[in-house]
Structure formats: C-alpha cells, structure tokens
C-alpha cells in the first residue's frame, strides 16, 4: 500500500504553475542531463521573464536555447554561455535583451548546494583577484583571501533522471547526474522527467542519489530526445 505518489500525468501538468518572473534551475551540463521535454513543455506553457540557472545556454534552436530564443528568459545565471552551437544567447546578450550573471562553475555548484542546505553564504578562494570578485566581500582566513558567495535557491527545478520511484527517489545515468541532485535540493518545487517510474522499494536504498524529499513531481519520458541529434537535424522548437 503506497499512498504517496508524486507522478504527474503529463509534461504540461508538471510545469503548469511556473509563473512569470520565476527562478528556474535547469539541470544538465551541455546536453547531458538536460530535461529537454520539460523545457519544451515550459515553452508551450508560456511563462516569461524567467531567471534561469544552468551551466550553459543550450545549443541550436531546441531545449534551453529555444526557451531563450522565445524570449522567456530575462536573466541567465551561468558559468559558460559560449559553447559550440550556442548562437541564440550571444545574439540576445550583445543586443542587451538578456542579462547574464557569470559565476565560476564550482561556485555555481556550491551556491546551489548551499541554497538547498540552508546555508545563506560561504567563503571560497575561487575568483579572488579576478574581475568576478569585483564588489564581493573579501576576507582572510589563515592568511589566504576568500570571497563571500551567497546560497542560491529557486522556485522550480527541472531535472532529468534515469529512474524514479513514486516517492521521488532518483538515480541518474553517468555524467548526466551533474547539477540535478543539488538543484533538486535548492528548488521549492522540483519537477523530474524520468526514463522509467518504478514502484516504491524498487531502488536499493543504498544507491539512491536524490532522496524523494527533494522531489515534488515526476513525469515519465521513456525515450527522451537527444539534443545534439535535434541540433544536427536543424530542428527548431516549437
């Protein structure tokens, strides 16, 4: 007998309450772990003026790049918005139509983890003596300088998992894990697309990467699209 069931019946239902101006963390490092079907559902849903947190800015005209291209993203928080095949973001950025908060990748990861772990701020040596430390509080511990960085939270996280159970326990596939476990922690509402939804108890408690407490909604996408293939095919979403 299991009553707790976080499964959603559709992608559209899963993202229905994303509101204009929301902060949305989007899992993935390049295409690995990118929840492309959830992103497309969010494009269909229409929420705009979003702040999006992702390591990159997508490629081609699908997934995250399509969300940006469709004018839904007011601001990116990101470490590397300049990947091969990323044309949409640079254009909007140069023309001043999108804001960028550039964050070193490890600081981005730690800020997300801190947001999820109830840590409002922490110190890191990363970026000290560089332009990215400009305006940040500096402090010396044991003779070394550090900058203070803030925890980062979100209203929603859209992530991709390999397998899930109805309690929201998740496991991932290889390097598609990347930002998903910490984004699940940092978002008020975590929405997961999974390759297969299993019964509770089907995943060994020792190997669960994201415990269900961090997950709110799960929708099954058994055969997710492969972003690089869509890009190679010249697809444009919608």
């Amino acid at each position: 007998m299991t009553m707790i069931d976080k499964s959603s019946t559709s992608l559209a239902e899963a993202v229905a309450d994303v509101f204009d101006g929301a902060t949305v963390m989007v899992g993935g490092f390049g295409e690995a772990g990118s929840p492309i079907e959830l992103i497309h559902a969010l494009i269909d849903q229409g929420a705009k003026n979003l702040t999006v947190v992702n390591n990159n800015t997508g490629s081609g005209h699908v997934g995250l790049a399509a969300l940006i291209e469709n004018g839904r993203v007011a601001r990116m928080i990101c470490s590397y918005p300049r990947t091969l095949g990323s044309k949409v973001f640079p254009e909007l950025y140069r023309s001043g139509r999108i804001e960028l908060e550039l964050v070193p990748q490890g600081t981005l990861a730690e800020r997300i983890r801190a947001g999820g772990a109830g840590i409002p701020a922490f110190f890191t040596a990363t970026s000290v003596d560089t332009p990215l430390a400009a305006g940040k509080e500096l402090r010396t511990f044991e003779g070394r300088d550090y900058v203070m960085e803030y925890g980062l939270k979100a209203d929603f996280a859209l992530i991709k998992s390999e397998r899930a159970d109805r309690h929201g326990n998740l496991i991932y596939n290889k390097t598609a894990r990347n930002f998903a476990p910490i984004m699940a922690m940092a978002a008020r509402t975590t929405i997961v697309q999974t390759g297969a939804l299993l019964e509770v108890g089907a995943i060994d408690p020792e190997v669960i990467i994201t415990p269900g407490i961090f997950v709110n909604r799960i929708v099954t996408v058994a055969e997710p699209a492969q972003e690089s293939r869509l890009v190679a095919e010249g697809r444009v979403y919608p």
Binding site: T2, M3, I4, R113, G115, G116, A117, G118, I119, D165, R166, H167, N169, M185, V200, G201, P205, E206, I208, P211, G212, I213, F214
Partner: protein, 224 residues
C-alpha cells in the same frame, strides 16, 4: 494526587503521542525526537502516510525490528535498532542535515525541559556547572524544520511548570515551538502567548492555567 486521579485527569504517554500524530498532515516528512516523540509513529491515523527522517542518515525509517532481527548498523538517532521502509534512502550526515537546515523536513516532534510563551525551547541542558553538555541535533532541528511540535509532561516530576514565561535553562532555539502536547492539554504558541486549543478529558482550563508558568489563554476551540 493518586495514580487513579492522575489517569483520570490527563492523557498518558501513548495518548499524548496519538494526539500529536493527529495533527501531522498526510505525506509529511517527519523527524521524531527521542522518548515519547518516537511513539508518534505508532499512531498515524488510518489513510495517512508519513515518511520518517532520522538524522543519522535514513529517510523512510520503519518500525523497530523483531527481537533477534536487530542490525547494529541500522539505528535511529536514539541509537535504537530500526528498519528501513520501502522507498527508504541512506545518506551521509552532511546530506542528512542539509535536509534539516534547508527546511525540507515538514514536522519535527521533540521533548522539552521548558517552553516559553514566545516559543523558546530549552531541551538540551540544565546549565548546571557539573552537567556534561550534550546537544546532538536538537539545535539544528529547531532552526531548520518548518513546524516544531513538542510532547512533554505539563510539569516536571517536582511539579514545576515546563510552560513558562521565559526559559531559565539554556535555549535550544528562540521562538521555534509551534504546538505543545502535554498530559493536560494541547497548547498553541501564538504571538499572544500560550493558547489552549484542547483539554485532556476531565481536565479543566483552570487546572491547566494553574500548572502553566506563563499566561495561558483559552482558545475559541474550547468554547464548543
């Protein structure tokens, strides 16, 4: 007060746990402190499912194992043998307290030495000079969990009130307690102070007020 009188005039430990269990919403993630709070798990109302967190690294804690089935490496925060329910997950201490500090746990039920009108909780130390101070996860729980319930006898063994105007013992946290389940009453901590929202059978509001150190207000619920 004879034992018979005592029983007639209040809830026993099981009943206090059962009463607290009634207030925990379906689907909550719950951390139960050591002692009476642990018993809450036995009284979840039919039709509700709660998921129990134990801060030593298990979400989805199940009931105690059968005698002889104990695993010394599967224990709860009180270091008692437990089981893992279907859907359980293990994790390390930093991840476990990320759940707590990060406000992912919905409800925590704790014991108390004192609770003030402002919801301050003292439950870790008498502050006596020769006491061995020990805090465990109590300060993390009250700082991080959204809703804090306390289950406690209304008075100490010496008859001193535990619900007080302000705590004389060192605090565990300031303004953290939401509700108190005692042998005499259910008391809500509000901006106006203690509000009795339910009385144990045979217990009068005046009696509870007499046993309460701080100011106690009768909630509208009592007028029914």
């Amino acid at each position: 007060m004879t034992a018979e009188n005592k029983q007639a005039r209040g809830w026993n430990r099981q009943e206090m746990a059962r009463r607290a269990a009634l207030d925990i919403p379906d689907g909550s993630y719950v951390n139960l402190g050591i002692g009476i709070p642990e018993m809450v798990a036995q009284f979840v109302p039919e039709g509700r499912e709660l998921i129990y967190h134990t801060e030593n690294g298990l979400l989805g804690m199940g009931p105690a194992p059968a005698v002889g089935e104990e695993d010394p490496e599967l224990i709860n925060a009180g270091k008692k043998a437990v089981t893992a329910a279907p859907g359980a997950a293990y994790f390390h201490h930093a991840d476990s307290f990320a759940m707590i500090r990060g406000q992912h746990i919905d409800v925590c039920v704790l014991g108390a030495m004192q609770i003030s009108e402002q919801g301050d909780l003292a439950n870790w130390s008498t502050g006596e000079p020769d006491a061995i101070p020990a805090v465990g996860g109590a300060m993390d729980l009250v700082a991080g969990v959204k809703t804090i319930y306390v289950i406690t006898q209304h008075c100490t063994k010496n008859g001193e009130p535990k619900l007080v105007e302000s705590c004389s013992y060192p605090l565990t946290g300031k303004g953290v307690v939401n509700r108190i389940y005692t042998d005499l009453a259910v008391v809500e901590v509000t901006p106006q102070g203690f509000v009795a929202v339910e009385l144990a059978p045979g217990v009068s509001f005046d009696h509870v007020q007499e046993k309460t150190g701080g100011r106690l207000v009768a909630g509208p619920q009592l007028e029914k």
